[in-house]
Each structure stands twice: as structure tokens, then as C-alpha cells.
Symmetry: C2
């Protein structure tokens, strides 16, 4: 017997992979009435993606997650290449070194996707009652376009079915070793179902977010095509504890041998991931049937590629034959139904960006959606989700293609050489590879995003901050809290709590001139905050103002700053978190007092920067340009009705 | 009706405060059959101690806990003094800066004791099935001396009673604000009892460890006196969110005003702790009845001391009138029954060392006890618990006395001055305070310990390591793992897993001479490991050998090192964790390649150091002195019978 129930929700998220969890994170932060479902009966514990790039780590830091990743994961900073030595063997032919650590404390980290999902689930639970409902799937989806422009209406109707254990359990994990989950994963080994098996729940929603991966059910329902390559790459992937005398087994390595190509990725503890291409993309007709791939087949391939070094393993935590094409959905939404992450774009695992793009997609859409649902901003800001993320997805696929084409070219050249005898690595080829890497590093790390001018990105920039660009991330620096001297990375202090931030780079606040400029800001900024803050909320709950001065900590008193920078609360007193100093910290040598230089801002005169809740730069201007920044916010923030009573 | 049950355990720990948890940590690491009970129905959530010193953080790092403390806590690096300004007001008179960060990455952290207990409970649960049994108390204790020398016997008989909720619940927490526990504390809000209320369990134990605090029931059972001061200090302590315009409210501060003395301790989030002395120790007759102290009394005292600055609060998380004398138990054990932590020593909270000493006591005793229970070492090593920790407790009390006397003198001087009008701070007095502080800083931070020569500390040192001293902690440095380049602090890599460590500071392993020296070590060290490893265990499970060379990472191959440094396991392959490099790391500027300089070891020729499981230095010698180090281990390690079959 099928039981039926009915309910409404403001936001329904389908799929609790990295992208769905990133959207859910924002729903939790903004206190949105939202739900997130997943067809699988449990979270992921083993396998899947494992690479987190610089920008992803920065935003995870703003969520309070990164320190857990750094503690558990492997920190990567380079890649070693191994090439034929001309005598049938292999030799180290070069090393690619990331230079990212110079512009961010966060370099690549490698850790199982299951752990990353763990950390997301924890922060979501810490701040809300939202939790993933598992073993639940959409059955049908209808959309009433006539309701689209009524913000209070529920144009989406979706029937959700609670699956049986069988339906909800994916093909058993093919690892050969029994899984010993981390203690904090135990409670999620067998999550409770909300409804009994077979229950059909009809949910009416204001917004639907499809985060259901490459084979997205939602995308199919929306009739959005998935365009791209005709054949798929097939990669064998395995997470094993290798038994080998290969010297760089604990360094990320790229091995090209006469027997094929291999990507070796160092991971937490003693795990190493091997990526073995089984079908390259120039192969028009399928050379492999994925279902015929076995773990022993992968073992043998790695053995022959790694020879003359020995290779074997007894422990395998996970393996898969991973089949993926380079595909892109031309649209990211239909009315109020959106697609995020792998549902929009897929590409080869070679560039290790899928999880990063997916998290960043969800991170980009989530806060905008929350503002719209709370009627703090017009639905039109949701258009920037496409203009910002879809072009990046395109670039991602181009990068993937370029990278793959480069390797194909190399491979052909090598095949050619092999016909003439035992080939040796060519330094020029190595250089060529380094060049491709360097050219794309900033993009791959997510340190450039090319977000276009829009409602929420004002590109009419001045020259006051030479190294800041509206539409890009705010570059990280280590600065000290004025009130207590604690050195914090900006990624941590500009935490993702849903607020816009106005950074007053107030310059040298010891100078009399500068002092007056700072004091003169107070009225205008308070007025700005008042206009956009709903009644009964704290003045800094929509737009927070923070100051970073360039004077030494000890030369400055917090009381020098105007009230907007140390708001008073009857219960908790003054706010001590708003004034920061770009100066050296006597007990932390990493804290150099060089933030102004990083940002290209004059240490005396300063500048003003508006940051979006995702820490992307929305607006840059002179320190006094209250009118300018007010105009920026007027462009997309509603004034609450009735006006704030404060 | 009273139900009775009977059982045996190898180790019974009474009291699950910091010292009991530190002992339990080791029991978990060594897989000892141990139990830990506490009379309280729950763990601590609020209040109590909050200061963790450098050495404590180092050892917590070796347990994998420190990163959680750093994320949640406030990091202290100094103290500001406020003194009368001569006009009835207060002025900043100086700042005391810790210099500890130069010799350790770990400087003082401030965080509620409840969180620290949380982290202990987590690591204990991660590695064992030991868990605190709450609401249980000893009723009677008997000891059969005739069994003392039989290692298999249970000379201790203790009757444990399961308490009613009423008996087990301490006087309600006097905080004025409802407590919102951290999510990871939720499961411990109402722990399950093992037995029904009233059950009497008769436990026979091989060892009993009394960690039951200043009013130790165990100490009383053992008839060990608690000697020391006749009158107690009484301190008012409160954890509040202050509403004040005092400029340094977010810096640890010491305020001396004509109205009294105040210690202000910055804490996590926006909490500040205030220590208000209510009865100084020169007062012979009690000036305060602790039970008459109220929160409002403390509020008023702080108000007057802080004036002319304003002070008040609405949120109080915890407060107490803390009564403590300077006392020391002359003995730390009776047969196989030991006392640890506050059960042995108490002192004023002014120097903030109680929790640190208690953790370090438990940390000192725990591994020795485990070795004895496992019959890997003779019971005589337990004697070093007293010789090492009791003299430190004495020094602690002397330091406390010196510190207190200094303040009393200052106070008297000040009282004198006040008779003559409004006093002003005297720079000489400030300097005198700085001198006392500096003189004792290394001791207070736990960076010097003065452990004497003993079975486990061989002081017949050579000059090969100028800055290392047997019986002291191993100084921290940041070094790189040869296999994967990860930079780790020694406090993390020398983790507290119960093993002894032989550090081969192999010097410059590129030199041919040095290479031969290293290779020549292999046989002797393998023989050493074999002698002391029980059958069927991994060769490195009792004594682990690690090498730290002084050459650049890229100039060295792991395969250059002999088998003792990369032991092979049939399931997991080679061990990649044993060889480290003291060289710069291109992506971590803190990693400077200066470890050899820190240790005072010649970069070419190296040295050898044996570390105890608690990372204290047991022996120092020439790199080749296998005979010497073998003799060191022969001094206290049993050879397993039957001999290791490997
Ligand atoms: C072997 C492998 C290696 C990879 N390596 C990397 C890497 O190194 N770096 C990197 O960045 N990326 C990597 N990726 C890609 C990465 O895993 C994906 O890009 C990323 O997980 C996409 O996130 P997502 O949330 O969009 O989709 P997914 O992670 O696929 O999550 C989709 C979720 O939706 C659920 N779902 C699906 N259909 C429905 C439905 N109808 N109803 C309800 N729920 C549904 C699924 O159960 C799943 O939990 C790898 C992927 C694989 C498989
Ligand atoms: C207000 C305050 C401030 C302090 N500030 C600091 C500071 O800043 N820094 C610092 O280092 N130290 C400080 N201390 C001291 C510190 O709390 C103690 O030194 C430390 O907790 C001692 O640890 P312990 O495990 O030996 O004893 P305790 O923490 O007292 O633990 C004893 C445990 O035994 C249990 N117990 C008691 N009797 C029995 C029994 N008969 N049967 C079973 N269980 C029993 C108790 O319930 C308790 O859990 C402070 C203490 C207080 C109260």
C-alpha cells in the first residue's frame, strides 16, 4: 500500500553530493525553509573525488572546515614526471611546482570525498535543522509557469518516493578490504528514513535545485540537453595501499611509459590513487566495455606501466571504471528550477576539478537564492548564476580539451619515436607541459574567475586598489585583530555567514587627515546599513562594515574608530571583531604586515571594497565614496518594508 | 535493594578530570584492560580551568588534539599591566611578552576545560572501548600487601556504588545564561549508567590511580596527608561577556588599582574570565566565608577595580568562589595505588598551571604504568613517577609562593603609597615583575622539567647534541618527510602511540663516510628491536627508529637508507614515514631547515637520541653508539619470553 503525504518547502535540493551540500550550507546560514534529499541510503564513505584546489579551500575556510581537511589530508604542491629513459626503463624527467602558496595559505589538499561531505554535514547540522533525507527520489515533476512571478507561490510540484533499501543501495562498494569508518561517520552509517518505504510525498516548492550529478534526473525532467563528446573517456581508478619500489610513490606523479600513461595521486595515510586511462578520446569506436573492467585488469596495467619498478597491492579501499564525456548543458535553469555541478558539466578526471567546480557552483548560487527567497533581493540576481558559472564551465571544458589534446599530441609523438627504437624523454616536451600548466594554474586553482559586470559586480573601478578586481576573489592576507592581536587569514575572518561586507581599508589611521576621513564615514555607512536591515535585526546583519588599518597595532586604540566599527549591543557589549591591523605580529612570523601591498592599496590613503557574501569583490572605490557604494547596494538590495525600526 | 556484582580490571582510574583522562589516554594507546570512573553524572561543560601552556599543547599535539584547541581557543602571547595613573585613574604601565613562540609553535591557548575534556574523550574513544563510567564512586578500599609482588595478582579491592542522579549531580551550574552545548558534546549530556542506582560492584584491580582532585577520596583512603598552608586563598572567578570601555578587555591583563587586584583572561568567542582575589594569603583569620560570595559581589568588585572604566555584564556562563590552599602530598603512592594531579598538589590559580601540571602528571605516569601492566618493564620504573613529578610539584608551589609574595610586597608598598595620596605606577616595579616572569617562564611553560637521572634517563651525555639534555623535552622543529615532502612539527610526528623512539640524526647522508656509518647501523638496530619486541608484533612496535638527515630533500633517495628505516610489510608495503629531512620546504616558509641548529647537532656527523614514549629525552650519544643505546634499553626493558619470532 502506498501512503501519500503532502507538504510545502521554500527550497528543495535534489542530490547531496558536493554541490547539493554547498547549496544546503547557505540555506542553513540564512535560516531558509529548505530540504535536501538523496536517492542513496547513506552518504559516501569511500572513493569518488579527492582533490581540493586553492580557492575551494579558501571558501571551505570561510565555512570553518579547512582546518579539518588540512589535518587529515595530504598537501600537494607539485607533480613529478616520469618518462622513458631510453633504455626501457623510467626516469624522473622533471617536477612541476605549484606557485599558488605565494598568494594563498591554501594549496591543494587531497582527501576522500566522503570526509569532505562529512565536514559539510557537520557545519550544516551545527547551524540549522536541515539534514539530508536519504533513500528518497523524485518520481514526477510539474511546473506551473503562471505562478513564476508570485514570490509567495509554489510553482513546483514534485512527487517524492521513499525507496526500499535495495533501490537506495548503490552497487556494493568494490573495495577488497572491509571498511572501517571514522568514528564521526558512524551515526551516518544507517540514517533513519523520514517516511516508510513506498511513501509518496507530494512536495510543493518555491525553488528546486537539481544537484543530482552527471546523470541528473532533474536535467532530464527540465528537458535540458547535455551536449558534447560522442564517445566517453574511460578511466580505471583505484585507491590502494601500494607495495612498490617506485621512488616517488608518495608524490603526485605523472608517468608516461611505452606501456601507457598513469596518474598517481598521493592521499591521506598510506593510500595512493591511480588513474589509468583505458579509452582515450581520439578512439572513435569504443575500445572498452566498462562493465568488463576488473580490478585485476587495472593492477596489471599499472604493473606494466610502472615496470621496471615493482607494483602490487593487497589493500584496495575502492576502485571504479569511471566513464565520463566532456559535456555541458546549454542552460542552467528553467524558471525557478536550477541545475548545479555535474548536472551541468562533466569532463575528464585528469584535471581534477569536478568536485571543486561543483562546490563553487553551489556556493555561487546558494546565497543568491537565499536572498531572493527572503525577498531581500530581486529574482533577477539569480541570472548572475548563469553568467558567472556557465562561462567558467565552458572554460573548464576548453581547458580539459587543451590539456587532453596536449597529451594526445605527446602520445602520438612518442608512438612515432617508439617505432624507431627505445625513446628517451625530451626536455622540450617537459617544458611544453610546464608551460601549459603554468598558463592555466591560476584558473585551475580558482584564483581567477572572470565574473562579468552585473547587478552585483560593478566594474567601474578606480585605481585605488591596483591588485583588486571587481568580479574576482578577494586575495588572502594574514592580519591582526585590533582588540586582541590574534592573527587571522582573511579567508577565516570574512566568514561565510551570509552577510555582505564593506571593507574600509582605512590606511594609516594615525594621520590626522585620515582620522577625519574615517570619522566622516560613520553617518553615511550607518544610514546605508539602516536602509537595508530588516526591523529588529542587528544593524550589521545584512551589511557588515569592517576596517583594516595599516598602522602598528600598539599605536592605535579601538576607541579611535567611529560607532559603525564597534557597534554596541545591550547584552554583549561592544563588538571587538570589526577593526583589524595590517601589521607585523610579534609571535607569528607569517604575519608580515603586507596585506596592503598584496591588495595594491596605498598605506596612507586606503580604499573601500564591497564584498559579496561569497567573498567575491562587488565594488571598489575611494575610502570616502559612500555615495558610490550606496549606489552599488541600491542596485540589487531591497529596502525592507516596513522600514527598519532600530 | 542493593544489587552486588564482582569484576576484575588491571587498572582502575578514579576521577575523569584532566589527570584521569591523561592516564586513560595511555591505557587506550597500549590496549590495557582499564576502567575510569567519576562520581559526577556528566562531564564538565562550563567553567573550571582554561589555560594550556606550551608544553601541554605540545603533548596534546602528539595526541592529535592541538589543532582543535587552536581553532576554538584564544591564543595568548602576553599580559598587559594596568596600574594607577596618579590621578585616581588607571593607565597601561607595560606589557609582558612571552618569548616561548621562538622555541615552539605552541604558545599558550585559552579554552574552557570542558572542551579540552571533550577532545580527550574523543581520542580515547577513537582508539579503545574505554569510556568514562559516570555517577560511580568508591565506598571502601582495601589493599593486600602480600600480593604486591605478584604481577598477576589483584591486591586492590574497591567497592563501587552507582549513585542516584541527585548524588551524582553537582550543585547546579551557577551561570545565569542557559547553556547551549556544542553539538559534539550532546551525546555526553546524559550518559548512560553501567549499573542501576545503588548497585555495589566489587572490583579487584592490579593498580588503582586516584585522579580525584583536591579533595581526593583516594588520598584519604591511603592515609596520605595534604600538607601546606593553613588558610586558603579565596578567589572569585567568573566567565562573562563583559560590557565595558576598558581598552584592553580582549587582552590578558593584570590590573592593580587602589581598589584591589584583578586578573583578566581573554577567552574563546567573546568570553572573558575575571579572577578576583577575595582573601589574600597573608590574612591569617578568614576574611571571607566562601558560601556568602555572590555573583553580584564579584560584579561590584570588578566595577570598582576597573573604574573609571565602566563595567557590567548580562551574560555569565559560569562563576565560582574558588577556595584553594597551597598544599602538597608528601607521597604519591602506597604500593600499587597512585595519586595524580590535584590529588597531589594544589596552589593558587594566579599562575594558571593546575590543569597543565595535572595533565602532565597523568601523561608521565600513564605510559610507565602500561609498560608495567604489560610486563614489558619492571615495576621499579614507576618510582620515576615520583622522582620526576613530585619535585616539579614542589617547584610549582615554590614558584606560586614566590609569585604571590612578590605581589604581596607590591601591594604593601602600594598601600603605603596610598596613605601619601594618589599613587602612580612605578616603572621599577613593572621591571621587577617582568624579571620574575622571565626567570620562571621556561618552567611555567613546561619547557624545562629537570627530570633526574634514573633507570629511564641516562645523563652520561656526550657533547654531540649541545642543546639537548637527557631528562628534558625534545625541542620542537619543523621538518619534511622524505617520501612526500610534507612539513610536520616534531610534536606531531613523534606522536604518543606508546613507542620508544630512536632518532638517528644521520647528518649529511650525501657524504660517503656518513653513508657507510648509516648502513653500518642497520644490523645492530634491528637486533635491538628484535630483542625487545614480543612475538608476532611488528619490529617497530616497541622501539621505532626514525632518521632525520640534514641534506636537501631532492638530493636524497629513500632507497639510500637501510631496511631498519623502511621496514617492509607484506600487506602495506614499505614504510614511508621513517626518514625525514631537515631542509627548507619550498611551499612553507616556516620550514627553514634549522632543526640541527635548534638541537645543537653537527650537520655533517649527526648524533643519536632515544626518546621515551612521552617524548622526553632518555639517552643521547654518537650516531654509531648502538652499544650505548642498547645498554640504555637493557636498563629497563624486559626481553619478551618466548623470544620474538619474526
Ligand atoms: C572516480 C572519480 C574521481 C573523481 N576525481 C575528482 C577529483 O580528483 N577532483 C574533483 O574535483 N572531482 C573529481 N571527480 C568528480 C566529482 O566527483 C564530481 O565532479 C562531483 O562529485 C560532482 O558533485 P555533484 O554534487 O555535482 O554531483 P555528485 O557528487 O554526483 O552528487 C550527486 C548526488 O545526487 C544523488 N542523486 C542522483 N540522482 C538522484 C535522484 N534522481 N534523486 C535523488 N538524488 C539523486 C546521488 O546519489 C549523489 O549523492 C571524480 C569523480 C569520480 C567518480
Ligand atoms: C575556577 C578554577 C580555575 C582554574 N584555572 C586554572 C587555569 O587557568 N589553569 C590551570 O592549569 N588550572 C586551573 N585550575 C585548576 C585545574 O582545574 C585543576 O588543577 C585540574 O582540573 C586538576 O585536574 P585533576 O584531574 O587532577 O582534578 P579535577 O579536575 O578536580 O578532577 C577530579 C575528578 O574526579 C572526580 N571525583 C572526585 N572525587 C571522586 C570520587 N570520590 N569518586 C569518583 N570521582 C571523583 C571529580 O568529579 C572530577 O571529575 C582551575 C581550577 C578552578 C576550579
Amino acid at each position: 500500500m502506498t501512503v501519500s503525504t503532502e507538504s510545502t518547502t521554500d527550497v528543495l535540493i535534489i542530490g547531496a553530493g558536493p554541490s547539493g551540500l554547498a547549496v544546503a550550507y547557505w540555506m542553513a546560514q540564512y535560516g531558509i525553509n529548505a530540504r535536501i534529499i538523496d536517492k542513496r541510503s547513506t552518504k559516501i564513505f569511500r572513493g569518488h573525488a579527492d582533490g581540493l584546489r586553492g580557492r575551494t579551500l579558501e571558501l571551505l575556510d570561510s565555512m570553518g572546515i579547512t582546518q579539518r581537511i588540512l589535518q587529515e589530508g595530504y598537501h600537494a604542491a607539485g607533480l613529478k614526471y616520469w618518462r622513458p629513459d631510453g633504455n626501457g626503463g623510467l626516469k624522473r624527467a622533471g617536477q612541476l611546482r605549484s606557485t599558488i602558496w605565494k598568494s594563498s595559505p591554501h594549496r591543494m589538499a587531497l582527501l576522500s570525498q566522503g570526509r569532505i561531505e562529512r565536514f559539510f554535514l557537520d557545519v550544516i547540522r551545527d547551524s540549522s535543522s536541515i539534514d539530508v533525507e536519504r533513500g528518497v527520489m523524485g518520481e514526477s515533476l510539474t511546473y506551473d509557469e503562471s505562478l513564476e512571478h508570485d514570490s509567495q507561490a509554489y510553482p513546483i510540484t514534485i512527487k517524492l518516493r521513499t525507496l526500499s533499501e535495495e533501490e537506495a543501495t548503490p552497487i556494493p562498494n568494490p573495495g577488497t578490504t572491509p571498511y572501517r569508518p571514522a568514528r564521526d561517520d558512524l551515526e551516518d552509517l544507517a540514517p533513519k528514513r523520514k517516511h516508510n518505504v513506498g511513501t509518496i510525498e507530494t512536495v510543493r516548492a518555491k525553488y528546486l535545485i537539481g544537484c543530482d550529478g552527471a546523470h541528473s534526473w532533474t536535467r532530464k525532467q527540465l528537458n535540458i540537453p547535455f551536449e558534447g563528446s560522442h564517445t566517453d573517456h574511460i578511466w580505471g581508478v583505484m585507491d590502494v595501499v601500494p607495495i612498490t619500489d617506485f621512488p616517488d610513490i608518495r608524490w603526485p606523479s605523472s608517468i608516461d611509459s611505452p606501456h601507457g600513461h598513469l596518474l598517481v595521486i598521493t592521499r591521506e595515510n598510506n593510500v595512493v590513487r591511480f588513474y589509468v586511462p583505458l579509452q582515450e578520446e581520439d578512439e572513435i569506436s569504443p575500445s572498452f566495455d566498462r562493465s568488463t573492467v576488473t580490478l585485476d585488469m587495472l593492477r596489471e596495467r599499472v604493473k606494466s606501466i610502472m615496470s621496471p619498478f615493482s607494483f602490487d597491492f593487497k589493500i584496495c579501499h575502492w576502485w571504479a571504471a569511471y566513464q565520463v564525456g566532456r559535456r555541458l548543458a546549454p542552460a542552467v535553469n528553467k524558471g525557478r528550477m536550477y541545475l548545479v555541478g555535474d548536472a551541468v558539466h562533466t569532463h575528464s578526471p585528469k584535471i581534477g576539478l569536478g568536485m571543486n567546480m561543483s562546490i563553487q557552483d553551489g556556493f555561487n548560487l546558494g546565497w543568491k537564492l537565499a536572498l531572493v527567497v527572503k525577498e531581500m533581493a530581486p529574482p533577477s540576481i539569480l541570472g548572475t548564476y548563469k553568467s558567472e558559472r556557465h562561462q567558467l564551465a565552458k572554460m573548464l571544458l576548453e581547458f580539459d580539451q587543451k590539456w587532453a589534446a596536449f597529451f594526445l599530441k605527446q602520445k602520438k609523438k612518442q608512438d612515432q619515436l617508439e617505432l624507431q627504437g627505445l625513446p628517451e624523454a625530451n626536455p622540450e616536451d617537459i617544458q611544453a607541459m610546464q608551460d601549459v600548466f603554468r598558463e592555466n594554474e591560476m584558473f585551475a586553482e580558482g584564483h581567477v574567475s572572470f565574473y562579468k559586470a552585473s547587478l552585483i559586480v560593478d566594474k567601474d573601478s578606480t585605481a585605488v586598489a591596483k591588485h583588486l578586481t571587481a568580479g574576482e576573489r578577494f586575495p588572502q592576507a594574514l592580519i591582526c585583530k585590533q582588540a586582541d592581536g590574534q592573527p587571522w587569514w582573511t579567508s577565516r575572518l570574512l566568514n561565510s555567514d551570509g552577510r555582505f561586507r564593506l571593507l574600509l581599508l582605512v590606511g594609516d589611521c594615525r594621520l590626522e587627515d585620515q582620522k577625519s576621513r574615517i570619522l566622516a564615514l560613520n553617518g553615511g555607512l550607518l544610514a546605508l546599513q539602516k536602509r537595508f536591515t530588516p526591523p529588529k535585526q542587528k544593524l550589521d546583519s545584512v551589511i557588515e562594515v569592517k576596517a583594516i588599518h595599516s598602522a602598528p597595532l600598539d599605536d592605535v586604540e579601538l576607541s579611535d574608530f567611529p560607532p559603525v566599527l564597534r557597534q554596541f549591543d545591550e547584552t554583549t557589549g561592544w563588538d571587538y571583531t570589526k577593526v583589524w591591523s595590517d601589521s607585523e605580529c610579534f609571535w607569528d612570523e607569517q604575519c608580515k604586515g603586507n596585506a596592503y601591498e598584496i591588495w595594491g592599496v596605498d598605506r596612507s590613503r586606503g580604499a573601500m571594497v564591497a564584498l559579496r557574501p561569497d567573498q567575491y569583490i562587488g565594488w571598489i572605490g575611494e575610502l570616502d565614496d559612500v555615495a558610490g557604494v550606496t549606489k552599488y547596494f541600491e542596485g540589487f538590495l531591497h529596502e525592507p518594508r516596513p522600514e527598519a525600526v532600530l
